[in-house]
C-alpha cells in the first residue's frame, strides 16, 4: 500500500483530498475502532491524563497483549526472573508464568531462531534483545527468515513476530553498544519498523506490532525508558493501538519542517522552542513513529506549507533515515522547497567512549536550532 503511494507521482498524491487512511489496516484489530481512538486521544480531557514512563507504557502493552491473546509469549535474555535488562518485562513472569515469559540462555541466534520458528508455526512471539547491538548475532534470522519466509513460501507460512529492545546510543558504552539500526531494518522488504518516542507511541506501536501479522521491529531507546510523558485516557485503555505508516505532528509550525524519530523528537521540540525564542520562527516537528512504512504524505504536506525540510536522526550519515527522507522529499516535494533540504545525523565515526566526544557524535538541541536558523537564513 505504501509502495503504491510511493510510486505515485507527488502531484497526484497531493491532489487527493480523501482523509488519510491507515496504510496497514491488518495491523489493527479491530481496525474500525482505531480512528475514534486516535481522535479520542487528541481530545482527551486533561483530567484523565496520567504521567507514564516509557518503560511502563511498554510493560503495559506487553501485559495487555499477553492477556488478550494466548498465542503471544515473550522470550529473551533475562526477561523473566530478572524482569528484563531494562525492567521492561517487570512483573510479567509472576503474572503470566514461565510458559509465556521465558528466559533464554545467552544465545541470540538460538532464541531469535526459536522465536522465528515459533512464528512460522503460528504463534505470536515477542523476541526481546538486551540491545539491538546484540541482535546482530541473530540478524540472519530476522532478515533472511522472518522477513522473507511469508513471501518465499508462497504466503503459506505466517510470521507474526515482534523484535524489540533498546536501539541507538546510550551513555558511555562505546562503539559496539551504540549503534542505531533504523536504516538497517528499514531497508528490508517484508519487515515493518517502528521507533517510538513518547509513552503513547511506545504503547500504541508495540501493541500494533504484536497484533500485526508481519514481522515488526520495534526500536526503543534506552535513554528514554525512564522519561515520563502524559498519557491520555484513551491511551490508557487496553484497546489502544497506533497505526503504522502514520507520523504525528508533535508541534505545528509554518516556517520549517523537522522530520525526526525516537529520542531526536524531543530534541527537535526543544530546538523548535529555542528557534522561536531566538529567531521568532515556527518549526513544525514531525515524529515519524514508523520507519517502514514511512509517512511520506505527512512530510510532503508539511513541506508544502513550510518550504523547508530538515531531517534529524542519530544513525550514521550514509544511507540513513535522513538520506531516505531527503530523497523522498526530492522525489515528491521538490517544487515546494525554497532551499535545499538538510539532514542532521550521527557522526561518521565508530561511537567514541569519551563523554565529550560521544556528545558531539550525535545531534544536539543546539545543533538542530543552529542548522534550522542557517537553513532559514535567519
Amino acid at each position: 500500500m505504501v509502495a503504491s503511494r510511493l510510486l505515485r507521482p507527488a502531484s497526484r498524491l497531493l491532489s487527493t483530498h480523501r482523509p488519510f487512511i491507515s496504510p496497514s489496516k491488518s495491523a489493527l484489530q479491530p481496525a474500525a475502532s482505531l480512528p475514534t481512538l486516535v481522535n479520542a486521544r487528541r481530545y482527551a480531557t486533561p483530567s484523565g491524563v496520567k504521567e507514564v514512563a516509557v518503560r511502563d507504557a511498554l510493560n503495559e502493552a506487553l501485559a495487555e497483549e499477553l492477556e488478550a491473546n494466548d498465542k503471544v509469549f515473550v522470550l529473551g535474555e533475562e526477561v523473566a526472573q530478572y524482569n528484563g535488562a531494562y525492567k521492561v518485562t517487570k512483573g510479567l513472569l509472576d503474572r503470566f508464568g514461565d510458559k509465556r515469559v521465558i528466559d533464554s540462555p545467552i544465545t541470540e541466534s538460538g532464541f531469535c531462531g526459536l522465536t522465528v520458528g515459533a512464528a512460522l508455526a503460528g504463534l505470536h512471539p515477542v523476541c526481546e534483545f538486551m540491545t539491538f547491538n546484540f541482535a546482530m548475532q541473530a540478524i540472519d534470522q530476522i532478515i533472511n527468515s522472518a522477513a522473507k519466509t511469508h513471501y518465499m513460501s508462497g504466503g503459506i507460512q505466517p510470521c507474526n513476530i515482534t523484535f524489540r529492545g533498546p536501539n541507538g546510543f546510550a551513555a558511555g558504552v562505546a562503539a559496539q553498544h551504540s549503534q542505531d539500526y533504523s536504516s538497517w531494518y528499514g531497508s528490508i522488504p517484508g519487515l515493518k519498523v517502528v521507533a517510538p518516542y513518547s509513552s503513547e507511541d511506545a504503547k500504541g506501536l508495540l501493541k500494533a506490532a504484536i497484533r500485526d501479522p508481519n514481522p515488526v521491529v520495534v526500536l526503543e531507546n534506552e535513554l528514554m525508558y525512564g522519561t515520563h510523558f502524559p498519557m491520555s485516557e484513551a491511551a490508557q485503555r487496553d484497546d489502544f493501538v497506533l497505526p503504522f505508516g502514520k507520523a504525528k505532528i508533535e508541534r505545528p509550525g509554518k516556517d520549517l519542517t523537522i522530520v525526526t524519530l525516537s529520542r531526536c523528537v524531543g530534541q527537535a521540540l526543544t530546538a523548535a522552542e529555542q528557534m522561536k525564542k531566538d529567531y521568532g520562527v515556527e518549526a513544525e516537528v514531525i515524529n515519524l513513529r514508523s520507519v517502514k512504512p514511512l509517512d511520506v504524505e505527512a512530510i510532503v504536506k508539511s513541506v508544502k506549507k513550510t518550504g523547508h525540510l530538515m531531517a534529524v536522526e542519530s544513525g550514521f550519515p550514509s544511507f540513513g533515515v535522513g538520506a531516505e527522507i531527503l530523497a523522498l522529499t526530492m522525489e515528491y516535494a521538490f517544487d515546494y522547497l525554497d532551499a535545499p533540504a538538510v539532514r542532521i545525523t550521527g557522526a561518521e565515526v565508530p561511537t567514541p567512549y569519551a563523554q565529550g566526544l560521544e556528545n558531539m557524535s550525535f545531534p544536539s538541541e543546539d545543533l538542530i536550532a543552529k542548522y534550522g536558523a542557517k537553513l532559514l537564513r535567519v
Binding site: Y82, P105, T107, G110, A174, V349, Y353, L357
Partner: protein
C-alpha cells in the same frame, strides 16, 4: 569382517543390535582435577608443585591480592574502582573476585609470546603478563596514555606489547577469532621452522559458550588443527542466568569431546592445578603440528556481574557469603603459603597496605593525565585518514587558530599542536 560401519561420517562405529540411545545421565560427570584442597593442603604429594619457586608463588599471591583481594575485605583495586564508579568518576567497572586463581594460574603457564584473547573478567591475566597498574588506570580513565586512545569502555583492555587482543563487548566473538589467530601462528611456524612455536589462549565465560560463535569456533579449530587453548571460566552465572538455565549437559567440558577436542575440567580455585593443566594443555596444543584443547575451570562469581548489576536480586546473599567463606582461590593459596612458613599476618597486612598505596597512586596519576591529542578524534577509523577527515581536521585547526579564546584545548596532549601530523619516527 563387517562388524564396523565405515560410513564416511563415523568410520570407527561398530554395528550393534542393541537399540539404545545414549543418555547423558548415564555418563558420569567429568571429574574436576585438583592438587590442593580448600584448606591449602596438597591432596596428592606426588602432584606437589615442584617447578615453581617460592618467589614466583609470592608474586602470584600479590597479583591476586591486587586484582581482587580476599573475600572478607573484597578487593583492593576492584574495591577502589567500584567505589570510583559509584562516585561517577568512571562509567562502568567489572570486578573478578573469586576468579583470580583461573586468571593468574593459567597466565603463569603461558609464554610471553603466546597470543591471548580475553572476555572481560580476566584482570589477573593482564596483571600476570605485566600490565602495570598505570596501564589499567589509564584505560579506565580513558586518558591520553591509554593504549586504546580512550575509545573503549572501561575494562576493555588490550596490549600489543603483551600480545593480548583488545577486549570486545560482544560476547563470544573472540572464540572463533582465537582459532583464526592460532591458525595464523601455525602457518607462521610452518613457514619459519626456527621460530619458537606459539599458541593462542582464549578465555570466555560459560554464558558466552551458549553463543553460536563458541560452537563454530570449536569445530573450526578442531578441523583446522589450530594450536589454541580454550579456557572457559565457569563461574555459575551469566549476569542473572544461572548455569542451571544455561545448559543441560555436563558443563562446557562435555562439549569438547563432541568436537573431537582433548578436554579437561579443573578446580579454578586451585591455582596450582590451573597452572599445571594449562602448562600441559600448551604442550599438547603444539603436538603434531597443533590442535585445540579445552579447559573448563570451575569457580564461583563472588562479585556482582558489573557496576550496573545488583546480584542479590537473583541470588541469596548467604549463597555468596557461603562461597566466600567456604572456598576462595586467594585464601587457599594463603593457607598453603602459611603452612610452608612463607607467609604470616604481618606480611599480609604489609602487602595489603602497600598494594592499596600503589593502586591509589596510579589512580590519582591517571585521573590527572591529559586526554588523547586532538588528532586522535580523527585517526584510525581507517588505516589512513580519509579525505573528508583531513578536510575536517584542517577546518578545526583553522577555527582553533582564529578563535583561540573560544576553545580551551589545554587538557589535551600537546594542546593545539596535538592536531598536527606527528613527526615521522
Amino acid at each position: 569382517m563387517a562388524s564396523s560401519v565405515h560410513f564416511p561420517g563415523a568410520v570407527n562405529s561398530k554395528f550393534t543390535t542393541d537399540l539404545a540411545f545414549e543418555q547423558p545421565s548415564t555418563h558420569p560427570a567429568m571429574p574436576t582435577y585438583r592438587v590442593m584442597d580448600s584448606d591449602g593442603i596438597i591432596v596428592d604429594e606426588s602432584r606437589k608443585p615442584s617447578d615453581i619457586s617460592n618467589e614466583e608463588i609470592l608474586k602470584w599471591y600479590k597479583n591476586m591480592l591486587t586484582g581482587t583481594g580476599p573475600p572478607a575485605i573484597v578487593s583492593i583495586m576492584d574495591l577502589i574502582m567500584f567505589d570510583a564508579q559509584r562516585q561517577g568518576r568512571l562509567s562502568f567497572y567489572m570486578v573478578s573476585a573469586g576468579e583470580e586463581g583461573i586468571a593468574i594460574g593459567s597466565a603463569s603457564a603461558l609464554f610471553p609470546k603466546d597470543v591471548i584473547f580475553c572476555q572481560y573478567r580476566e584482570t589477573g591475566v593482564f596483571q600476570q603478563r605485566g600490565f602495570a597498574l598505570s596501564d589499567f588506570m589509564n584505560q579506565l580513565f580513558a586518558n591520553g596514555k591509554d593504549n586504546g586512545k580512550g575509545r573503549n569502555m572501561p575494562v576493555h583492555y588490550g596490549s600489543s606489547k603483551l600480545n593480548i587482543h583488545t577486549i570486545s563487548s560482544t560476547l563470544a566473538t573472540q572464540i572463533p577469532q582465537a582459532a583464526g589467530a592460532a591458525y595464523a601462528l601455525k602457518i607462521q611456524a610452518l613457514q619459519n621452522p626456527n621460530m619458537v612455536p606459539r599458541i593462542v589462549a582464549c578465555y570466555f565465560g560459560e554464558g558466552a559458550a551458549s553463543e553460536g560463535d563458541f560452537h563454530a569456533a570449536l569445530n573450526i579449530a578442531a578441523t583446522r588443527s589450530c594450536p589454541v587453548v580454550f579456557i572457559c571460566r565457569n563461574n555459575g552465572y551469566a549476569i542473572s542466568t544461572p548455569t542451571l538455565e544455561q545448559y543441560r549437559g555436563d558443563g562446557i567440558a562435555s562439549r569438547g569431546i563432541g568436537y573431537g577436542i582433548d578436554t579437561i575440567r579443573v578446580d579454578g580455585n586451585d591455582i596450582f592445578a590451573v597452572r599445571e593443566v594449562t602448562k600441559e594443555a600448551r604442550r599438547m596444543a603444539l603436538e603434531n603440528g597443533g590442535k585445540p584443547i579445552l579447559i573448563e575451570a570451575m569457580s564461583y562469581r563472588v562479585s556482582h556481574h558489573s557496576t550496573s548489576d545488583d546480584s542479590f536480586a537473583y541470588r541469596a546473599k548467604v549463597e555468596v557469603e557461603d562461597w566466600k567463606r567456604r572456598d576462595n582461590p586467594i585464601t587457599r593459596l594463603r593457607k598453603w603459603m602459611e603452612h610452608q612458613g612463607l607467609w604470616d599476618d604481618e606480611m599480609e597486612k604489609e602487602a595489603r597496605s602497600q598494594i592499596r598505596k600503589d593502586v591509589l597512586k596510579a589512580f590519582a596519576q591517571a585521573e590527572k593525565e591529559k586526554r588523547a591529542p586532538l588528532r586522535d578524534m580523527f585517526t584510525d577509523v581507517y588505516e589512513d585518514l580519509s579525505e573528508e577527515s583531513k578536510v575536517q581536521m584542517k577546518e578545526l585547526g583553522r577555527l582553533l587558530d582564529e578563535y583561540p579564546g573560544e576553545y580551551d584545548v589545554s587538557e589535551f596532549e600537546g594542546g593545539r599542536k596535538g592536531l598536527d601530523e606527528p613527526a615521522e619516527q
